[in-house]
Amino acid sequence: MADLRVNIAGVNFKNPVIAASGTFAFGEEYAAFLDVSALGGIALKALTPEIRPGNPPIRIAETPSGILNSVGLQNPGVDAFISGILPRIRRFDTVKIANVAGRTEEDYYTVIEKLNDTEIDMFELNVSCPNVKQGGVTFGTDPNSMAAIVAGAKARAKKPLIVKLTPNVTNIALMAKTAEDAGADAVSLVNTFTAMAINAKTRRPVLANVTGGLSGPAIKPIALRMVHEVYRAVSIPIIGMGGIMTGEDAAEFLLAGASALMVGTATVAEPDAMIRILGELNKFLDENSAATARELTGALEY
C-alpha cells in the first residue's frame, strides 16, 4: 500500500486521481456508482456568470479510441451553483476545484469573486475550451491574452489558481511558462483537441456544432509529450491528463512530470473508472517498489 498523497500548491489531496472537469458533472450523479470521497479531488463542470444552455445536440461522437464532445459549457450559472448545488456536494470529503469559464475577462473574474468565499478549494481557469466560439480558447492560444487573464485572475483569487492549457498550440511549454510567470500556482493539461467527425453517407458533420473536442486514449501520446515538455519548462506543479484509462497510464503521466492526474473520458466510458484506476495505480507502485506516488513525478529516465 503505497503512500498516494500529493500536494498541489499547498492543497492536500489524499491521492492524485481527480475527476476532469465536464465529465463528472458536480459529482452528485456518481454517488450511485462510487464513493466520491475516495477520490483525490473533483474538478466541477465549468461555471460561467450566467446560465448557459450549451450547444445544440448531437453533442458527442465516437472516434477510434477517442470521443468528440461539443457540450459548449452548459451550466446553471455560478449563482445557481452556489445556492443550489454547492450545499448538496459539501458532504463529499474531497478537494473541490471550480472550473472557471467565460466569454470575457470580466466573466472569469466574476465567477472567481463569487466563489472566493465558498468552500471551493481551488480554481481551474479554463482558457482552453474549444467548444465556444468567442473567448475561451483564444485566451489559451495567445501568450499576451494568457498573461493578462492569469494575472487578473490571480489578483482576485483567494484560492490557489490552476491554469488549464489547450493542446491546440505550436508551443505549449511557452504557454505554460507564460501562465507561471503571470502567477499561476499550477497548470493542468491537456484540454481537448479541436477535431471533427463526418458522416460520409449523409455528407454532414456528426456534431451539430461541426467541430468538437477530442479526448481519450487516442490523444494520450500527444498529451504525454506535452506534459513532458511543460515539466522541463516550469517549476509549478502539473496536473496531467488525456486518455488515462488505467493505473499504468496514470503512472506514465507521473513519470512524464505530472504531480496529479485528471480522468475524463474513462469516466464517460465507465462511471467507476477512477476507483479502478486508483487501485491499479496502487498495485503498480507496490509491484514496482515505489513507496509513494510522488516519487514518480518526473522520474522518467532518458
Binding site: E29, Y30, I58, T267
Partner: protein, 259 residues
Amino acid sequence: MIKKHDICRVASLEPLAKDTYALTLKVNGDMLKYFRPGQFAHIRLPHAGEHLLRRPISVNTIDREAETMRFAFLIQGEGTRRLSQCRPGDELDILAPLGQGFRVKESHQKIWLVGGGIGIAPLLSLRDTVPGREYTAFLGYKSREYAYERKEFEGFCKAVHVTSDDGSIGEKNFVTEALRRELEKEKPDVILSCGPLPMFRSLKRVWEEDGRDVETQVSMEQHMGCGTGGCYTCTCMVAGAMKRVCMDGPVFDIREVKL
C-alpha cells in the same frame, strides 16, 4: 450502493425479425429490484477495443424469477452489429437500469401504448412491471419483415392496432393515424410512446388536435456518452431548459419536450 454496473452473462440471442434481435442477459437482483418500464441499459460492446462509448438499449422485458433482462434491438451500425453476434455464455459489461422511465400513476388505468419500429420494444416492459391495467397497443412497423413481438402485445392488451408503411402487415397507415381514429372514439388515461422523431412529430399533431387533455409521455433518443448524468452530451430541450435524456429522461411529457 445498488449494483448498477456489472458484468452479465448472455443467456440467449435470437433473431426476432429482419435485422432485429433479442438479447437476454442474466442480471443481478439489484438491477431488477427498482426497475421501472422505459428504463434502459448502457452496454459496452464486446471486444470494445477502439470503441469507447456504450450503446443505450431499452429494456424490452424482465423476468424477476429467472433474474433476466431482455433487450430487442435493430442493427444500425458497428455496435448493434456486434451485439447481434453475441453467443450464450459471453459476458457483457452493462450499466442498468438507467433513466427515469415512464411515470405510471395509480390513476392511469386505461393505458395506450404507441410504438414505432424498434421503439415498440420498451413498451413491452409494461406487461412485466405494471400488470392489471387496461392496455391498448398501436404498433407501427416498416413492413412485415421487420415486424416483431406482435403476439406478445396481443397477450396482454385488450386491442392491438397494427400498421405498416407498405401494408404488408396490418393496415397501410401511419401508426399515429390509427391512434387518431381511436382517439376520436374514446380517450385513455395516459399515452406512453416510443419511436423515431418523425413519429413523435406526427404524434404531437394528433395529440394537439384530438388528445390535448390526455397525458402523453414520449421516450426520446439522443447520442449519449456516460448514460449516468455526468457529461451533459445527451441533451434535449424540455420546458426551455437543456435536460439530460439519460438521467432526466428518456421519458418526457409531450407538452414540454421540443421535438
